[in-house]
Structures are given as C-alpha cells and as structure tokens.
C-alpha cells in the first residue's frame, strides 16, 4: 500500500508538484475538517447553553465528542491514509479501554447503591420502610 497522494474522492486541485514523500493532501480537506470541528464544538457548547438534560444531553454530547475525535484522528493525524496494520495497532487497544469504562461504570453504580442503602441515604430518598419484625 503506497502513501495515497490525494484524498480519495477529491479532485487534485491546484496541487503543486509533490517534492517530498509523506502525507501530502490538498489543503481543502484540512479547511473542511477544521470548519466541521468548529461547528461540532459550537453544537456541544449549545447543548450546555440551552440546558438540554437527560438522555438527549448524553446522546448529543457523546455523538459530537466521537465525531470530533474521529475527524481529528482520521484526517489531522492522517490515520485514514495510513497502512491498515498501523491502523489496527493503534485503534484496537483504546477499544479495550472501553471495556474498562464499562466495568468501572457498573462497579461505580453498585458502590453508589450500596452507599445509598447503608451509609448516607440521600435527602430525596423515601423514608425507610418500617421493619416488619
């Protein structure tokens, strides 16, 4: 797999002769991604500004976050033009982190429930049910 000289699907517009090997792509794609990152950041800021709450807030925040992260890695860090072996070597380990996140979240929920039940009942919690015995 050679280095791709131009972004797929983009016309090689006004590209000076490539003097060196390496990641050379038309400038246009950088400006487009740059603009998109601005739009996505503004969008995630607006989620907070308009006090969107609940599942909608989480969905929006995480979607914008993943889109931004994906664009930065794929284009700014040139991952989409790298060798497949390098892509797998870099992208698979962070996916394992997601497992750790899931385990951490489950464990934290369990800890929270245990604390709530035995140590520091929340103010809004209903009064404890009287023991039947």
């Amino acid at each position: 797999m050679e280095h791709v000289e131009h972004a797929p699907g983009l016309a090689p517009a006004s590209e000076p002769e490539a003097h060196a090997k390496g990641q050379q792509h038309p400038l246009g794609i950088y400006f487009k991604i740059w603009g998109l990152l601005f739009v996505l950041s503004t969008a995630s800021y607006l989620v907070d500004y308009f006090h969107v709450q609940g599942m909608l807030r989480w969905t929006l925040i995480i979607v914008f976050m993943l889109l931004k992260a994906g664009l930065i890695v794929a284009v700014f860090m040139h991952m989409m033009w790298e060798r497949l072996a390098l892509m797998y070597a870099i992208i698979v380990p962070p996916l394992l982190l997601v497992t750790l996140v899931a385990i951490g979240a489950l464990e934290a929920d369990y800890t929270f429930l245990t604390r709530g039940a035995f140590f520091s009942p929340q103010e809004k919690a209903p009064p404890p049910v009287a023991a039947k015995h």
Partner: protein, 235 residues
Amino acid sequence: MANHTGTLPGREGWQSVVSDAASDQRMFKDVPWGKPMMWIFLLSDTFIFGSFLISYMTVRMSTTQPWPNPSEVFGLTVFGREVPLLLIAIMTFVLITSSGTMALAVNFGYRKDRQKTFGLLLATAALGATFVSMQAFEWTKLILEGVRPWGNPWGAPQFGSAFFMITGFHGTHVTIGVIFLCIVATKVIRGDLDHERPGFLTGRKGNYEIVEILGLYWHFVDLVWVFIFAFFYLW
C-alpha cells in the same frame, strides 16, 4: 521475501496486515520509524488519560455528596450577565484553531515551504500558550474560590482532585507541546531540516517528518481535550 520496497503487489486488506506483521525487516513498511514510535507513546498516554477519566467517572458516579455544576463553576460574568462555561468554550476554540494551523504546518513542511511552516508552527505555539494562560487563569480563579485537591465549597471533595489531576496533566502536555513547537520552528527557519544538519530532533535525512510527528503529538493534545470537554465540563 526479497522485496526491499516493502510493497507487495496485490495485497489488500487483511493480507496487507498479515504481510506487515510477518515482515522480516520492519513491521510498518514505508512508514518512517519515528511515526510508529510517536504513535506508541501516544497510545501509552491514551491509557494514562484513560485511567484518569475512568477513576474520575468512578468517583463521580459513586459519591453520595452533590457534585458541583461545572456549567456554573466555569461560567463567567460578561457585562453583568452570567454566561455558562464561557471560558472553557473559548479554550476549546483556541485549541481547535491551533490544531488547524498545525495540520497546515505539516502540509507546508512536506512542500518544503520553510517560511509558511515556520509561521504556522509559531501560530500554533502562540495559540497553545494562550490556552495554557487561560488555564492558569481558571486555576487561579478556582483556588481563590477555595477549591483544593481535597475539597471545594460546593460539595463532593473529589471534584477538586479530579479537576487538578486531569486538567493539570493536560496542561502539562500542552506546555511541553509549546516547547516542542518552538524547537522545531527554530530548526525549520534555520533550514536544519533541508541542510541535513545533525542535531537533537533534527534527524539526518533532510526531510520534514519531524513536523508531522510533532503534529501527531499536538493533535493528540487536542484529542484529549475533546474527551475532557465532554466528560468533565459537559457532564
């Protein structure tokens, strides 16, 4: 496997992965060695920041004390009106802008346009320094309001430790990046990379790979901020 260019015709997809992994010379053919080295470093850094964010998530989800509302904590009063999270929003835009100038610097580096590469690297460094200054302002403000690694005036004490740990580590990365940017910018404008002048971080090949490797580091710092912005400030 007497293929010294490293390109095996007709190998696509998984076959190319297998042939890279089975390579008897170098795993990632045609990739300058410094690039996988930087990626491996960044991967290790991903796990460090991952650990921070996971432990932050764990304390935040399991604390029974109220967590301060970041939207209000990081709000600023502008012309007598409270704007939520304003400082953080500005910092985010500063960092994204610096990512853009960095990407352009890499591109002009490979075109061997020394002046433009130098200018863009300096612009990136200036934006990075702006970001760190704003972070220093944010830290000062919170410290004056009584936030400490062991407590804060608004509730769960873990807020303080998570805040100083995560943003402090990120700010350190930005600071190191700014220094790295200044070093490479100097080398670019002096022409070290063209004239194969040997030296620290210069390499001996007279090429601009170091600019791209620096770019990887800088974009990574921006990438980490994307996650901090989502999980620390918007949660």
